[in-house]
């Protein structure tokens, strides 16, 4: 039990993620979480505005079930399977975050400086969360996949387009963390 409650090392977690991907393949589906966002648009009536949302979303219900399961898995893991230890970050990361105004790095899964309700009362705080979401949603659909669809499934299937997409993920991520973070925070 002790080993379950502690954070799991990468060499346990990575193979288990591969197992999830292979399980879904065995079920005759593919591993791709961002497709659910398109399904949600379709359910909400997006088909009235774009043919992109005119498809049989009911055929995608299985994927919504996966995502609901993931949400419940998150609840179970954080409430019953965690010892709530502080994330063992590189001290250099903690120092870099402190310089940007982020205190208590690793004490929770996400920083209070971005995700606390108080931040949502400011225009800047609101723009950060919604803006980040829009970038993720727009970018993932434009690129035709996210971390699960491209980085895990696509690379595992030796797809060149997925490699280009993952290089894109890193161009954007590096630009955000190294260039834009000092402008947005601090």
């Amino acid at each position: 039990m002790e080993y379950i409650l502690q954070p799991w090392p990468w060499y346990i977690s990575g193979p288990l993620i591969a197992l999830v991907m292979l399980l879904l393949v065995y079920f005759g589906k593919t591993f791709g979480m961002s497709s659910n966002l398109r399904t949600l648009c379709s359910i909400a009536g997006g088909g009235k505005y774009s043919e992109f949302f005119r498809f049989d979303w009911k055929a995608q219900r299985w994927n919504l079930v996966v995502v609901i399961g993931a949400l419940i898995g998150g609840y179970l893991a954080s409430n019953f399977l965690s010892d709530h230890s502080v994330i063992d970050l590189n001290p250099a990361t903690v120092a870099d975050l402190k310089a940007l105004g982020f205190e208590d790095a690793g004490a929770a899964l996400v920083p209070a400086e971005i995700y606390d309700w108080g931040e949502l009362l400011t225009v800047k705080g609101l723009l950060i969360l919604i803006g980040a979401g829009i970038l993720v949603g727009f970018g993932t659909r434009y690129a035709g996949g996210c971390t699960s669809g491209h980085a895990i499934t696509g690379l595992s299937n030796l797809q060149l387009p997925s490699l280009i997409a993952v290089i894109g993920f890193f161009i954007g991520g590096l630009l955000m963390v190294h260039v834009l973070y000092p402008l947005i925070f601090s």
Partner: protein, 137 residues
Amino acid sequence: MKFLKYFFTGIFFGIVLVKSEAVSWYRIFEMFKFQSFHMYGIIGSAVFLGILGLLIVKKNEVKDINGYKIQLPPKDMGFARYLIGGSLFGLGWALAGACPGPMFVLLGTGVLSMLLVILGAVLGTFLYGLLRGKLPH
């Protein structure tokens, strides 16, 4: 009943993502700072075993649960959409510290403000649907 296996696969996925700390905003920041091997180890070992697993599946013409030969659809060819779309995704991923799977997992762990990020992601997907015809692919 036929959805039960997806439900349990999802629960398992959510638990793994929390226990691996892959849903942590801090781990994503650390990854883009190249200050830890943790996330590279997770993605790298998942892809390594994924390649191995899919090679075995293809070589042995393994059948899925319904008895059909397993075939993964190849991604459409293209360059601009993957590089531009990927970069936009990366900007959001590094800012929110969460991608489309972890967003829902984090909501489950009790980060309720994640609902705004999810709302933004649905909105972003909708915007893509509107602008798709005007974008280079």
